[in-house]
């Protein structure tokens, strides 16, 4: 929604770090800096990275990936690589001594509220230094009340902080084809505020993807997406996430604005 405005304000952040990939994806993992800077710091993660001890990163996900789909049975072979895998790769390259290990906790079709019940247990088990919480998709699908959603996210962030981890929240995907049936924007807005008021970075995947669509970097509404689109998009998300993490780790002296 706001991306065409942002595109005027672009000061693109290009993260073309080492990893060689298809030219298409390697050159275009760009997004306006407003969308990729951390704004807030990640002190707990910074400490863990500096201590050169194992640094677990937990991705909380509601995605159901290819295998869950009844709709596209038959097309799935090996599950494609999703952003947590690219995240781990790029983070390890950036912090070779950081001992980064990314684990994913997937709860398909779970609202933010549904995740809350399991969250303390999951945190106790994984003992992460950083939690990347992707949420809102199923809330949007259900049309859950936005205030209940925001309360749940705030409570969840509280749990994460109590467990001694930093948090980044991530908004749902931009999905032009299904936009007529699923309106994600209010949930992305609620997340933006929840992140802001809790003082944690917000990875606005919705806006970033919309930016890519408006700039013609990816075509999300074509009936025949390129076979590599899934991985290309997830690779970019992984890299931009690392950009945000690095920002949050390195600007620790500045504090929040």
């Amino acid at each position: 929604m706001k991306n065409w405005v942002l595109s005027f304000v672009v000061s693109a952040l290009v993260l073309a770090s080492g990893f060689s990939a298809r030219a298409e994806s390697a050159s275009v993992c760009a997004a306006p800096s407003e969308l990729t800077r951390a704004v807030f710091t990640l002190p707990r993660l910074a400490k863990s990275l500096a201590a050169k001890k194992p640094t677990p990163v937990l991705v909380l996900n509601s995605s159901s990936l290819a295998k869950k789909s009844a709709l596209k049975a038959g097309t799935d072979k090996d599950a494609p690589r999703a952003f947590p895998s690219f995240l781990e790769e790029t983070l390890r390259a950036r912090y070779p001594d950081g001992g980064v290990v990314v684990t994913t906790h997937n709860e398909p079709r779970a609202t933010a509220e549904a995740i809350l019940a399991d969250l303390p247990g999951v945190l106790a088990q994984a003992r992460p230094a950083l939690v990347i919480w992707q949420t809102g998709t199923y809330d949007a699908i259900l049309g859950a009340d936005t205030s209940a959603f925001s309360d749940a996210v705030n409570t969840g962030i509280g749990h994460i902080h109590e467990s001694g981890a930093d948090a980044i929240v991530m908004s749902p995907q931009f999905s032009p084809r299904t936009a007529i049936a699923i309106d994600v924007a209010p949930y992305a807005n609620a997340l933006a505020w929840a992140a802001r008021s809790s003082g944690i970075p917000f990875f606005d995947r919705y806006d970033i993807m919309q930016f890519w669509a408006s700039e013609g970097i990816f075509d999300f509404d074509t009936a025949r997406p390129s076979p590599s689109q899934f991985e290309d998009v997830h690779r970019c998300i992984g890299r931009l996430l690392v950009g945000m993490i690095v920002d949050g780790v390195e600007t620790r002296a500045l504090g929040s604005r």
Partner: protein, 403 residues
């Protein structure tokens, strides 16, 4: 009588709530020629905005009022519908009696219900197409959400029960419920207007504080527009339409009130701009933000309600009822749309589906977005011109027969 015959012609008469006959009464001080054109004008504008807002990823919806304040076109639409509904049906209740008028209101609700089902069928067709033709591993979860198609029997019955309301069609079920329950409300409004308004406000208060809402499908959804909350705007519109607006005129004319409204609108403008314009990002202090966010559209948050009221007061002041520009041909298209609101609203929903389809299937360029937005509005104006012409012809024929 010509008026009632025109109204009873379901095919193409102008809105029941838009009597062609001069009707100098409650709506402020209408000029000699009759109606308060501001009602039609702003309802027409709201219909255009609703259409634009309902096309996802459309540049043109940047001009709509939701980007400049807490409330949006829905508030305008619901309030004016309550206002004109109470005005027209209230007059009929006085002339023709409670029973007949109630029957007319219920028939109107029935027409809306049919329109809803019609639009739902089109929606199903579009969604079925998307599910059938589109397979992108990126969107497995989103597509999975559209799996209600795997049990069409349930989805269809839930739609008939108004429990399954696809996004973008939510206003229609709200309007149906508001109209279907309007006869007793109107009766009460005519007898004890203030008491009725107070009861309505109480219901809104209970609904917003307890989350009391109607159930929906699938799972544990509720209605997107909580009718227990939104009825307040409709009833308040009715209260104004039955003379309340005259009683409020002193409030509206008070410079202090107008100044307060302007201040509120300005603050609201800045806050809303801070949502999408990065330089203003830190504008709302966390303490205030925690208090006011998220601003519930479902339960008609007080912030939205106050914003609408402030906007209404400022507009009523800025656009007097006898402003010559209201009669200019420039505004005529918008007024025409406002005078045929039911049909134009439904056409708008259909056109937003169609525009979404074209943007995804053919081209989603900026130019295309603007072209489709313009084309949609032209079609809406075209339909309302046709309906107004037909209504006029029918009335003339009827007048000749009877007169």
């Amino acid at each position: 009588m010509a008026r009632s015959i025109g109204r009873d012609e379901p095919a193409g008469s102008p809105q029941a709530e838009v009597p062609p006959a001069p009707s100098a009464d409650r709506a402020g001080k209408p000029p000699a020629s009759g109606r308060d054109l501001r009602l039609d004008l702003f309802r027409g504008l709201a219909l255009w905005f609703i259409f634009l807002n309902h096309i996802p990823n459309n540049v043109a919806n940047w001009i709509t009022n939701r980007n400049f304040g807490f409330s949006d076109a829905t508030e305008i639409f619901v309030f004016i519908s309550g206002y004109t509904g109470a005005m027209v049906y209230g007059r009929q209740m006085a002339a023709d009696g409670m029973i007949v008028t109630s029957a007319r209101i219920l028939r109107r609700a029935w027409q809306l219900y049919i329109a809803f089902i019609f639009l739902f069928v089109i929606y199903l067709a579009e969604i079925s197409y998307v599910v059938g033709s589109f397979s992108n591993p990126l969107y497995v979860e989103e597509m999975g959400a559209l799996q209600f198609l795997s049990e069409p029997d349930v989805a269809l019955v839930q739609a008939l029960l108004l429990k399954f309301r696809p996004a973008n069609m939510d206003v229609l079920p709200l309007y149906i419920v508001l109209l279907a329950t309007f006869p007793p409300v109107l009766w009460a409004l005519r007898r004890k207007p203030d008491l009725t308004l107070a009861a309505s406000a109480l219901m809104w208060l209970v609904a917003t504080s307890t989350g009391w809402n109607l159930p929906a499908y699938p799972d544990d959804r509720t209605w997107f527009f909580n009718p227990f909350a939104w009825q307040l705007l409709f009833v308040f519109g009715g209260w104004c339409g039955l003379g309340g607006s005259d009683r409020l005129s002193r409030v509206v004319q008070s410079p202090a009130v107008v100044a307060a409204c302007l201040a509120y609108l300005l603050v609201s403008l800045l806050v809303v701009i801070s949502w999408w314009w990065p330089p203003l990002e830190g504008l709302v202090p966390p303490a205030i933000g925690d208090l006011i966010y998220p601003i519930s559209k479902t339960d008609l948050s007080p912030l939205r309600l106050i914003h609408f009221l402030a906007l209404a007061i400022v507009v009523v002041r800025a656009v007097p009822v006898d402003l010559p520009v209201l009669r200019s041909p420039l505004l005529a298209p918008m007024i025409l749309c406002g005078q045929n609101s039911l049909q134009v609203f439904c056409l708008g929903v259909f056109l937003s589906f169609a525009a979404h389809f074209v943007l995804n299937e053919i081209s989603g360029t900026l130019l295309m977005q603007l072209a489709l937005s313009m084309a949609g509005i032209v079609l809406m104006v075209g339909l309302s011109a046709l309906l107004s012409w037909y209504g006029r012809v029918e009335r003339e024929i009827a007048a000749r027969k009877h007169g």
